[in-house]
Each structure stands twice: as structure tokens, then as C-alpha cells.
């Protein structure tokens, strides 16, 4: 039908003006290989061209920050000679097409980002977002994604200690699969992905290279799905071959790389992620200000007849690029042989050439043989760092005013609060039971509580009594109503989670999952969300050490709700006893710690709550953000719990923050894991039962007077709201439920939904 074929640059996802820019950089027309390199490296996924100018507004400074944004992972100094690396990434579109492998390779990729820094990966978290479970395809996606994370993470031997699980119809054709990894290393062994030293060699480690995921990043992560049925709408030709994960290869690769680093055998190291070899070679060369010659014939291939552009852009999994000095080659080769890891010299570090102004410009040269024909030659920097940056049009959605008007907070309550409460309870155990959460004997608090808490220990680390805590959080319901406030409140929620296990927040990473950046409303959401995050991070004194932006999460022309995911890392100075957790004891006083009413004019906002969403009410105004008040409350709770973890005796017997589902949900969750009931005084109707805003904690104490005195001294609001006892949860006149029934409902909710027929 169509006559004129599409020009090559457009087929590769480059615009006409981007082509013109490439012509300026090269001073000539690029050949097809060179064009393919720019195509992947200048894709949204690799270059952050739509988001970078906004990301600069995030605070990233902190005395303990060793490596901030811009590297493979952020790194902080956690004390005792131990540095902790952390990174989060999305694998949304691959998971929509092949949920098992999409999720599995997501785990593989994030681990490589972390051990690239020299850190042993110690924990994974997996925030997941799907459509509603009454749809069979969603159940297929959930089962596939969860088993993919389980299959890869367990086998590679890194515990998955937490995550998130959100169901909302906006993710029906575009599920989100984010993965976070945290690792640790002796502080003095930090390595960066830098190639320096002319004459050094680039060694490709790990799997052979096949046609997997050619153009994957540009095709998948940088474009939306056309139809509303996700994968099925990708036509067969554009459907890239799916990457398959091999956790066994990755496991050996981790051990081999860590041993190489331990023995000081490498100068720099870099993982091969999106955009494969071209990304790793150009980034290491650009960082080192040197050139690199790549011998295309030296790359071990899994398939026959691969073209140079395929070899350079393949996203075959489980590969790393190490920069070494030639004299170490033999020792490296034998170490790799022991771990059965393939190692091949594929590149050579060369002198930079001089540009027109006499400035050094490192060239990435693709050759057939080190001294053979040059197939392509481009400045490494231009691929890695000089993609065009776009300040795309932004516009506040005009519908937002009407949305704000439609506030469910003032709805008359209908039906029984008992039923409402039961319907909101979901225990994600079906998911996290499938993950090894205990490996390395560090997991003091595993998945299923407020934040995960680990001993800061691992093979090769200096001895320490410290602990680290991790939490991932998001609230797309809030962010849809107000991306700025919603994101700020999400950060606060995350800090609250860490407080429950006694950890002080030290570093934040984020994964910004948004719709199509060519829609001005989406760019507005992104920009607002970044501002909200910046504001909260400043108020709560948390540096942002890294992140990831996933755009084009849309299908059939409709964008997902803005979904910034926050990953927070906290540190405890001494962890020798477990935090109190959710366990109630008969006769304890139940207290609400933190401001009982939300700041602003609406004391108990129901906008964006689970309660409202269940009723199909998606409008209204979220709570205001009171940074100073929140910080004071968080510091108090953190201090109370930290003392217990350090081994001190305390009158505090349990702690849980009030999060999704509100105060009633927090109480029901504690009751259900404890198996004890409570008598809670009358609250302010259904609004107080189900309102959501961070900064409140349910705690129990066996010495009310002393506890209240401490809170008052700290200037933190505190109120007794009831007593633990009996077999029922009573909340005033509103809630009257047998704890056993609460527990049964909560435990079975997810499994029943997944087993639903149809």
C-alpha cells in the first residue's frame, strides 16, 4: 500500500531534527550502523531526554552520599566502613508481553546495576501494579510476574524482602513492574564504570550475545502500546524477541565479578543493560574521557549471521564489561574459568582524538578486528551524554478543577462500616511467600510489615551491629488528584514506614512511571511530581541518590495515573533486638501518635482513599503537607523504636503507621496478626475510620503515663484511643468484628481473587 519507505532514522525512533543534530556532531551523514547506535542511545529510556531538565531539581546532597544520581547506583556511607548501594528500575513493557521473563530480567538487570558498583546485592524489593483481578488476563499477569521474580531472585540467591502490590484499572493494559536492589560493600572498594588508561582492555563477561531484545529499549520502553490489549497490539515485525533470564549465569557472574573486584583486578566495570554493548562501551569511554575500539568479531555470539548493529545493540542478559590492564588478563581469565563465566577481550581503550577546537574527544570505533575495517565511528560522549534534551510542553489538565470539586469526603456514609473495613483488607502473603526473604541470615523484619529491616552484614563486609531498612511506596490515587502533594505525601508515607522499624531515612531512589510525555498533561504531572518530591526531601532532609523514569505507560491513547514510586533506605546504628512490630498484648493501652487531624481545612480527607476508590469515587482534595510537623513525629517514633532495637527495655509494645485504608485498617491489621481484639473509643465517624494522610501511628504501651510524658516532651501529639483485649475489634459504635473473621478475610482476599473463575 504505502509507497515511499519510511526513512531509516524514523524507523529507528529518531526525529528529523535529531538526525540533523547527528549530522552536525559527525560533520557528515551517519551510516546505518551509526544511526542505529544513536537510535538506541538517544531513546527516551536511555537518554532521559524528556525528564532530565526536571530531575535536576531533586536535592542530592548529603554528607554521607558517596555516589549520587548519574551512576549505575547511588551509594551512601552507612558507617563502620560499609557503603550501601541502591537502585530502582522499571521493567513495565517487557512484563506486559511476557510476564515471567519480563519480571525475571528486571531483577537480573537491577542486580547488575548494584554489583557494578562493587556491592554484593543483599535485598530486592518489587513494587507491582496491575489492573483489577476480575479480569483473567490480569490474573495471568500477576501469576507470571510474581513467579518470574520468584524464579529469578530465589535462584540467583538474593532475598526479596518487600515490595508493593496495587490494583487499579488504569494499569489493565500497562502493568508496572518496578524492582529495587540494595547491596553493600566495604567503603574502600567502591568502583565506578570508568574506562581510563590508554592500552587498557575491555572484557565482555558472561552470556553470549543473541538477537534478544534488539531495539528493546527504544521500541518497548519508549513507545506506548497502540491498542488497549497491551502486547497483542504490537505487530509481529515490531515485536522484539523477548529476553530470557538465566539466574544461574547471573549468579556465577556476580561471584566472579565480586572476586575480580576483591582482588583488585579491574579498573572499571559496567553492566550491559538497555542498549547493550553500545551503551556500556560509550558510557565507560565517555566517563573516562578516552576513546574505545570495539572488535565486533570478538563478541561471542549465540546466533548465526548477526549484523554489527545487532551485536552492538542486543540486550542479551547476564553480561558485564570490565576494563582491565593487559597484565591482569591471564589471572582474570582463570578466575572466570573457575566460575564458568565466559570472558572475551572485545575492546581497547585508545587516545581520544582532538575536535575542531583542539579539545580531546573520545571516539567509539566499531571495527572488524582490532586493526581491521572501521565500520562506524562516533564520539562516545555524543551517544552517552549529548542526546537532545526536551522541555516538552506542560499543561495542567483542564478537568482537574471538576475533579477537585467532586470530593467524597462529604458523602453521606452508606452501608455498614464493618463491610467497608473487611473489603479493604488484603494480605499480600500469597505474593511474598513465593520469595526467599531470608537469605544471608539478615532479615529481622521481612515482607508483610511496615518496612523491611535487615542486619547490615554479608560475605566480605566488615563486622557491624548496624541495620538497614527499606521501604517502597507509591500512591497513584493521590497523585492523580494532585501530583505534587501526592508525591510529597508518598515520600512522607515512606519515612513513616521506616520509623516503625526504628530507622532514619538516609537516601531515596525513585522510579517515575508516567504516561506519554508528548501529552502536555503528562509532562505537567511529571514536573509537579518532581517538585513535590523535592519539597518533601528537603523538608525531611533526605538526599535523592538515583532513580529511573519510565514514560509512555499508556495504551489505547489513555495514560496511567501518575505513579512515582519511592524507594527509601534507612539506617539503624544498633540492631540487636527486633522492633516491637504489630503484636498487641492483653491490657496494653492503644495510642494514636501524631496529629490526629490532617493539616488544612479538611480534618479527615477521603479523597483518593481506598474507601472512596472502592465506591468508584475518584475525585476530591488530598491533605496538605506539613513537613515540620511530620518530621517531628517521625523523629520521635524512630527514636522510640531505635532504642528497642538497640536492646533497651521499653514500655512500647507495638507500632504500626496509619497508611492505605486509614486508621480502621491499621487497627484491623494489628488485631489480625496478633489474634487479639481491642476496645477503641468512638472516632469521628467513617471519615476518621478511613481517611488517609501520613503522620499517624498506632502504638501500644504498657505504661501509658510514661509514654505520654515522653511524647509531650518531644512536642508530638498523642492520644489514648483504647485498650487491647478480648476477641473482638470494637471501634466505638461503628466497628464490631470478631478478630478471627478479620484475619480470615484478610488472609484469603488475594487468593480468592486470583482463584476466581472466568
Amino acid at each position: 500500500m504505502s509507497s515511499a519507505p519510511e526513512p531509516l532514522h524514523r524507523a529507528l525512533g529518531l526525529t528529523d531534527s535529531e538526525l540533523a543534530q547527528i549530522q552536525v556532531v559527525l560533520g557528515r551523514d551517519p551510516n546505518p550502523l551509526e544511526l542505529a547506535l544513536y537510535g538506541v542511545m538517544w531513546s527516551e529510556h536511555c537518554s532521559y531526554k524528556s525528564s532530565r531538565i526536571h530531575l535536576r531539581r531533586l536535592p542530592s546532597e548529603g554528607a554521607h552520599v558517596l555516589v549520587g544520581p548519574g551512576e549505575n547506583a547511588g551509594v551512601i556511607d552507612a558507617g563502620d566502613g560499609i557503603a550501601v548501594a541502591i537502585r530502582i528500575e522499571s521493567h513495565n513493557h517487557p512484563s506486559a508481553i511476557e510476564p515471567y521473563q519480563g519480571a525475571a530480567t528486571g531483577v537480573g538487570g537491577i542486580l547488575r546495576d548494584v554489583f557494578t558498583m562493587g556491592a554484593r546485592p543483599l535485598a530486592v524489593m518489587d513494587p507491582l501494579f496491575f489492573g483489577n483481578l476480575d479480569d483473567a488476563r490480569q490474573r495471568w499477569l500477576v501469576e507470571g510476574v510474581v513467579s518470574g521474580i520468584s524464579g529469578y531472585g530465589n535462584s540467583v540467591g538474593v532475598p526479596t524482602v518487600g515490595g508493593e502490590l496495587t490494583f487499579d484499572e488504569c494499569y489493565s493494559s500497562n502493568p508496572l513492574v518496578n524492582v529495587l536492589c540494595c547491596g553493600a560493600l566495604p567503603t574502600n572498594r567502591l568502583v565506578l564504570g570508568v574506562a581510563s588508561g590508554v592500552g587498557n582492555l575491555a572484557v565482555l563477561l558472561g552470556s553470549s550475545t543473541g538477537r534478544d531484545g534488539i531495539g528493546g529499549v527504544s521500541v518497548l520502553a519508549s513507545a506506548g502500546f497502540v491498542g488497549d490489549d497491551g502486547a497483542a497490539s504490537l505487530d509481529d515485525a515490531k515485536r522484539p524477541s523477548v529476553q530470557v533470564g538465566d539466574p544461574y549465569e547471573e549468579k556465577r557472574l556476580i561471584e566472579a565479578c565480586l572476586e575480580l573486584l576483591d582482588r583488585g583486578l579491574v579498573v572499571g566495570i559496567q553492566d550491559l543493560g538497555g542498549a547493550g554493548l553500545v551503551c556500556a562501551t560509550s558510557e565507560t569511554a565517555a566517563r573516562g574521557g578516552v576513546g574505545m575500539d570495539v572488535d565486533i568479531t570478538a563478541v561471542p555470539l549465540r546466533e548465526e549471521g548477526m549484523q554489527p548493529f545487532e551485536i552492538m545493540t542486543s540486550e542479551s542478559q547476564e553480561r558485564m564489561l570490565a576494563i582491565i590492564t593487559p597484565e591482569n588478563w591471564e589471572e582474570i581469565a582463570s578466575l572466570c574459568a573457575k566460575w564458568e563465566v565466559r570472558a572475551s577481550v572485545v575492546g581497547r581503550v585508545v587516545e581520544p582524538s582532538l575536535d575542531a577546537n583542539g579539545n580531546p574527544r573520545g571516539m567509539l570505533r566499531i571495527r572488524r578486528g582490532f586493526d581491521g575495517e572501521v565500520l562506524g565511528e562516533v564520539p562516545a560522549q555524543s551517544l552517552a551524554d549529548e542526546a537532545p534534551l526536551y522541555d516538552r510542553a506542560r499543561e495542567r489538565p483542564s478537568s482537574l478543577d471538576a475533579v477537585h470539586e467532586d470530593d467524597p469526603t462529604f458523602d453521606e456514609p452508606v452501608g455498614s462500616p464493618n463491610d467497608d473495613l473487611l473489603a479493604l483488607l488484603v494480605d499480600p502473603a500469597w505474593v511474598y511467600r513465593q520469595y526467599d526473604s531470608q537469605l544471608f541470615l539478615n532479615t529481622v523484619v521481612g515482607p508483610g510489615r511496615d518496612a523491611s529491616l535487615l542486619r547490615l552484614a554479608g560475605p566480605g563486609l566488615p563486622a557491624s551491629e548496624r541495620g538497614i531498612a527499606l521501604s517502597t511506596d507509591s500512591n497513584p490515587r493521590w497523585c492523580a488528584l494532585d501530583p505534587r502533594l501526592g508525591t510529597a505525601l508518598t515520600v512522607a508515607e515512606s519515612v513513616a514506614n521506616l520509623a516503625c522499624v526504628g530507622a532514619s531515612a538516609k537516601a531515596l531512589v525513585n522510579c517515575l512511571n508516567f504516561g506519554n510525555p508528548e501529552h502536555p498533561e503528562v509532562m505537567w504531572q511529571l514536573s509537579e511530581s518532581i517538585d513535590g518530591m523535592a519539597e518533601a526531601c528537603v523538608a525531611l532532609a533526605i538526599p535523592v541518590v538515583g532513580g529511573n523514569v519510565s514514560l509512555y505507560n499508556e495504551s489505547g491513547g489513555s495514560d496511567i495515573d501518575p505513579t512515582p514510586v519511592v524507594g527509601l533506605l534507612g539506617v539503624l546504628e544498633k540492631l540487636v533486638a527486633p522492633p516491637p512490630g504489630w503484636n498487641w498484648r492483653e491490657g496494653d493501652a492503644v495510642v494514636l501518635v501524631g496529629a490526629r487531624r490532617a493539616p488544612g481545612t479538611v480534618p479527615f480527607p477521603l479523597a483518593g482513599t481506598r474507601w472512596a476508590t472502592r465506591r468508584g469515587r475518584r475525585g476530591g482534595n488530598v491533605a496538605a503537607f506539613d513537613g515540620a510537623g511530620l518530621k517531628n513525629t517521625f523523629d520521635f517514633v524512630t527514636g522510640e523504636v531505635a532504642e528497642i532495637c538497640a536492646g533497651a527495655s521499653s514500655d512500647v509494645t507495638s507500632v504500626h503507621d496509619v497508611g492505605a485504608g486509614g486508621l480502621a485498617t491499621a487497627l484491623a491489621e494489628m488485631a489480625s496478626v496478633t489474634g487479639l481484639g481491642a476496645n477503641i473509643f468512638e472516632l469521628e465517624g467513617h471519615q476518621e475510620l478511613f481517611a488517609e494522610f501520613p503522620g499517624r501511628f498506632v502504638m501500644t504501651t504498657n505504661n501509658l503515663e510514661r509514654f505520654i510524658a515522653r511524647a509531650v516532651r518531644a512536642g508530638v501529639a498523642v492520644e489514648e484511643i483504647g485498650r487491647v483485649g478480648g476477641t473482638k475489634l470494637h471501634i466505638g459504635q461503628a466497628i464490631d468484628l470478631e478478630v478471627q473473621e478479620i484475619a480470615r478475610q484478610r488472609r484469603g482476599a488475594l487468593e480468592e481473587a486470583l482463584e476466581a473463575a472466568g
Binding site: 540467591g157 573457575k338 526473604s437 537469605l439 544471608f440 541470615l441 540492631l575
Partner: protein
């Protein structure tokens, strides 16, 4: 001091945990790479959990051909104490050092959760310090942990007191709730739960200690 070798296959991942646990009990423990051909000087050998050779084909199917397995068989024949934990148990059954086989869990998912075990026999190197009927809370962590054997094998296990541990509530569909078995002599034991993960109340349970203490103490007593 008791010397314990912890065998490491490519793909093992609980080797540090096992080493740490027995070291904490006073044993002198060291790693033994899977290419080793002898186990001289060790009093006991542990095959730790993990995914040896990626668990490709079947758990333990490729690992049993590692050179070290002949040495393990020799060591066992000579009466040495051998303990297979989780993947190590799977390797021992594949190698024919323990009867039966381990199939995928009944629910077809990986399971990481605490289980309550009852000690069924104290005639093994793993349970000699425990008492019959003792209940222990120890986590499981496996995909293929459903113990399977034919009727004849089962009858023989019962007759020779080889069923060492049972689950109180069967999590995975194991025949007769079996969580661990030994050979006839009691010096080779395999179990799916992870005693090395139950060494301290900070991590949830210390009930694994009695098992590993038995094991670490056993070889010395046995010789």
C-alpha cells in the same frame, strides 16, 4: 575441634549461611569447591541450599555428577556425617545417597514460610540431641520440596526409623508429611527446612540450633 566441610556448587547460595551457623556453634568450617575429589580431614560435610547448576533439568540432577559427589559417597560409606539442606537434600536423593525424590510443591509455587516440625527419630546425626516428639519452628524455602517415594521405599523408611522429621501441617504435599529422612545407618540426613535460618530469635527462631548442634557434635562422638 570439629571440622565441617560446606560443599559449594556453582549456583549454591546458602553456603555462607551454613558456614556461619556451624561456626557459631564452635565448629571449624570451610568451603569445599565442587571440583574437589576428596574430603580428608573433615568430620562432617554439609550440602547447603541453593540452586546448584541453576536447578536446570531437575534440582540436583546436574550437581550429582560433580567430582565432589564421589568423595561425598565415599565419606558417607565410611560413616562420616553428611547433611543435605534443601537443595543439598535434593542432590543427595539424585545421587542415590538417600531414598526417594523431591517433586514440585503441591501448590506449584515457591514457598518461604515458617513451619513447625516434629522430631520423629533421634537415631540420626541431625537429631541425636533432640527428643522424639519435640516441636521445632524452622522455615522452609523451596519450590521442589514434596517428598515422593513408592510404597516399598516408604515401608522400609518406617521399618528402619529413617523418617527423621515431619511437618505438623504439610505445606507442600510431601508423602506422609515427611520433612527429612536419613539413610539406614543414620549418618546421612537430608531435610527441606533450613535449620541454619533458625539460629537466633533476632531472626525469628532459634530452634534450628538443636539440630546443628547434634550434627556438629555427632561426628566427633561417632569416631
Amino acid at each position: 575441634m570439629t571440622r565441617i566441610g560446606v560443599v559449594v556448587f556453582p549456583g549454591s547460595n546458602c553456603e555462607y549461611d551454613a558456614l556461619g551457623a556451624v561456626s557459631a556453634l564452635g565448629a571449624e568450617a570451610e568451603f569445599v569447591w565442587h571440583s574437589a575429589t576428596h574430603l580428608d580431614g573433615f568430620d562432617g560435610v554439609i550440602l547447603p541450599g541453593g540452586f546448584a547448576h541453576g536447578d536446570y533439568l531437575r534440582p540436583g540432577a546436574l550437581a550429582r555428577f560433580s567430582p565432589v559427589m564421589e568423595a561425598v559417597a565415599e565419606f558417607a560409606r565410611a560413616g562420616g556425617a553428611v547433611l543435605g539442606i534443601c537443595n543439598g537434600f535434593q542432590v543427595l536423593t539424585e545421587a542415590g545417597l538417600l531414598p526417594g525424590a523431591l517433586q514440585k510443591n503441591r501448590g506449584l509455587t515457591f514457598l518461604c514460610q515458617p513451619t513447625t516440625l516434629t522430631v520423629e527419630s533421634t537415631a540420626s546425626v541431625l537429631t541425636r540431641d533432640a527428643f522424639r516428639g519435640q516441636e521445632l519452628v524452622i522455615p522452609i524455602n523451596h519450590f521442589s520440596g514434596s517428598y515422593t517415594c513408592d510404597d516399598e521405599t516408604w515401608a522400609s523408611l518406617v521399618a528402619h526409623d529413617q523418617i527423621v522429621l515431619r511437618y505438623k501441617e504439610n505445606p507442600n504435599g510431601s508423602r506422609d508429611d515427611i520433612a527429612g529422612v536419613s539413610n539406614v545407618e543414620g549418618n546421612v540426613v537430608g531435610l527441606m527446612p533450613h535449620p541454619e535460618r533458625a539460629m537466633s530469635t533476632l531472626l525469628g527462631s532459634a530452634d534450628g540450633r538443636v539440630l546443628l548442634e547434634s550434627f556438629v557434635g555427632a561426628p566427633v562422638g561417632a569416631r
